[in-house]
């Protein structure tokens, strides 16, 4: 195991066994037979380790889903679904840590700080997949809005993560349902919908019948 990974898993073990962070970097480094200085070569702080755990999990998932044989045949919708399913499957092995880690985050607007690294990975992935979807015509290119699609996916991700933390069903089947239904709804909104047609119709009327639109 790489020293970096070793530090990560030893940190996870520590917080799970003790229910709190180690007293100081010094103590923690010493327990791992490192000097404090060496520790800083790998991480800047304990928060840095936590962020890395999340981020690595996401990169691992992305690598894994892209490796599937069916990947090139999947639509954008299916690619995102696949990422969600695989991520929460992998996260199962770290459920206690996730609950502990996210539980101690103070409720505030926006996403928890520990998820920052993960968010970067996630957004890179979604941007790429969404771009493909826009190019293939699967998704509707709307001025201004299509740039925000990835934010909608991120919100969806946060929602499922919270749902999963509270999910008590066997095998987290409810989470599977939440993903399937939630991601599908989100993608339905990304696609051409009656609203688009309505909007276009309004535009057409405004241009052709001299009706002044109230907006």
């Amino acid at each position: 195991m790489e020293p970096k990974e070793k530090l990560q898993s030893s940190y996870i073990n520590y917080v799970l066994l003790n229910g709190e962070q180690p007293k100081s970097v010094f103590v923690f480094a010493r327990e791992n037979e490192l000097s404090e200085e060496e520790f800083y070569n790998y991480f800047g702080s304990f928060e840095g380790i936590e962020q890395a755990v999340w981020k690595d999990l996401m990169s691992l998932t992305i690598g894994e889903v892209k490796n599937q044989e069916v990947w090139p045949e999947y639509s954008a919708r299916e690619k995102v679904l696949s990422l969600f399913f695989s991520f929460f499957e992998l996260l199962k092995s770290k459920r206690s840590f996730a609950a502990f880690n996210l539980g101690k985050q103070r409720r505030s607007m926006g996403s928890p700080k520990v998820l920052q690294g993960l968010k970067g990975e996630f957004e890179r992935f979604s941007t790429e997949v969404l771009q493909e979807g826009l190019e293939s015509g699967e998704l509707m290119d709307r001025p201004l809005l299509s740039k925000r699609y990835k934010d909608a996916l991120w919100v969806q991700f946060g929602f499922v993560l919270n749902f999963w933390l509270k999910d008590t069903s066997a095998g987290f089947e409810k989470t599977d349902e939440a993903i399937e239904k939630g991601v599908n709804v989100t993608f339905d909104l990304f696609q051409r919908s009656p609203i688009d047609n309505l909007f276009e119709y309004g535009k057409f009327l405004a241009q052709n019948s001299g009706i002044k639109m109230p907006f």
């Binding site: 599937q68 696949s82 599977d176 349902e177």
Partner: protein
């Protein structure tokens, strides 16, 4: 589609599409109720779910009453209206909840990873991620392994848990809508819930499918797919792919009377063999559960719903198929008491009333059994049953639910069988597998 719905008034919808047309509508309404509920809740966070549940129950009940075809008329006749309703209600409910869009490819991959530890294309040589059929609580996919064509049934996630929690939520309102007390209906409701939950247990279904197909292997013109327990799991069932047509399609090919009789006979034998030899029966005679194979055999593809019959139900119930029993008042009354069709609290006048009416309808209903050969194409028989059912439905004495809980599924099974045979216009020998009324003690 709208035409189909209109037709439902005089015939029970049999095609999957036809039935689901009704269910889809309910599903949409129920979905709408949720939306309505949550938008109200935005402004009034204290709003309880009671209103929502009631609205759901009402919508489900409404669409259910549209389905009230001949099956329910007969149920009324047997004064089982109120105990068959919860079954129909529950079915309706679970179906309206689960006429979900097909599962996405990634979810299927996910399900496989969960239960097999690898993706479907690693388990099989070839696996079609697009489903070929919808099953009631899942969907069917085609796969290939070692040159063999297989059918893989995958259950929608969360169905099992949802069934019991949903039933519990809507139950009190359902009772009120049906106009009876919860206590009165509870034993029937529990019976239904038990069966519905069994249907979600795929491991049980595989075990039973293997057992039943083995036990029924000797029957002529009946075929079963081979099941593969090692390729099945809690949420998936793998079996051979049976080629064939569903009943509706088959009838459109204008089969000869000889072929109809052959299929009809196979169906009759299949059911009566189970009831009288195995004392447990495939209790879902829905046309979608059968296939007519290219060599004109009856293929049976779903063992999700099995009803077992205990002795204290079997003997009194089937004793009526012997003419002598109905002619002997004492014997008849004994059987009625055992089946709780006559209750200990009934007054002598009531006993007399129920005795007369139940005897009359049982005589009608057991006609196929007492005839030796019975022609199910005869409309008169069914018309007689319906007419009788309507008459009885108007009698206040039959407002109360009567009879032991086993009636629900056994009546559904037997009447379902009559209905399919009627559709087939088959004439069958009904003395092939007779009730075994000698107690083995």
């Amino acid at each position: 589609m709208s035409e189909n719905i209109r037709k439902e008034q005089n015939s029970i919808p049999t095609g999957k599409v036809q039935r689901s047309a009704q269910f889809v509508k309910t599903g949409i309404k129920v979905g709408g109720n949720y939306v309505k509920h949550y938008s109200k809740k935005l402004f009034n966070p204290d709003l309880s779910r009671d209103g929502l549940n009631e609205e759901n129950a009402a919508d489900i009940y409404n669409s259910l009453s549209k389905l009230k075809g001949s099956a329910l008329k007969v149920a009324q006749m047997l004064s089982m209206d109120k105990n068959i309703l919860p079954a129909a209600y529950a079915n309706q409910f679970s179906q309206s909840q689960y006429n979900a869009p097909p599962l996405s490819g990634p979810l299927i991959v996910q399900t496989f990873r969960k239960y097999y530890g690898k993706s479907p294309d690693k388990v099989f040589d070839k696996f079609d991620l697009k489903s070929s059929n919808a099953a009631s609580i899942g969907q069917v996919h085609q796969a290939m392994l070692n040159g063999k064509k297989l059918a893989v049934k995958i259950q929608y996630p969360g169905v099992g848990e949802a069934i019991s929690s949903d039933l519990k939520l809507v139950k009190p309102f359902a009772f009120r809508l049906l106009g009876m007390s919860e206590k009165e209906l509870d034993i029937y409701m529990r019976e239904v819930e038990e069966r519905l939950l069994e249907e979600t247990d795929y491991e049980l279904e595989v075990r039973r499918s293997i057992e039943f197909s083995k036990a029924c292997a000797g029957l002529e013109h009946v075929v079963f797919p081979v099941y593969y327990p090692e390729l099945s799991s809690k949420r998936t069932i793998t079996m051979d792919w049976l080629e064939g047509m569903h009943l509706k399609e088959y009838l459109q090919t204008n089969p000869s009377q000889e072929d109809r009789n052959k299929i009809g006979q196979a169906l009759w034998d299949f059911y009566n063999f189970q009831e009288h030899e195995l004392r447990a029966v495939h209790a879902d005679p829905h046309p979608g559960n059968f296939l007519i194979t290219p060599d004109k055999k009856l293929g049976i593809i779903d063992f999700g719903c099995i009803k077992e019959m205990p002795d204290d139900f079997y003997y009194p119930f089937f004793s009526f198929t012997e003419k002598s029993v109905l002619q002997n008042k004492e014997e008849t009354l004994k059987a009625f008491r055992a089946l709780e069709m006559v209750l200990p609290t009934d007054s002598p006048a009531q006993v007399e009333f129920y005795l007369r009416n139940y005897s009359e309808m049982i005589e009608l209903f057991t006609k196929p059994y007492t005839s030796g050969v019975f022609d199910f194409s005869r409309k008169e028989f069914f018309e007689q049953i319906y007419a009788y059912g309507e008459k009885i439905a108007r009698m206040p004495e039959f407002k109360q639910a009567r009879g032991v809980k086993h009636f629900i599924y056994i009546n559904r099974t037997n009447f379902g069988l009559y209905q399919i045979l009627h559709e087939l216009k088959a004439s069958v020998r009904t003395d092939t597998y007779l009730p075994n009324l000698q107690k083995a003690s």
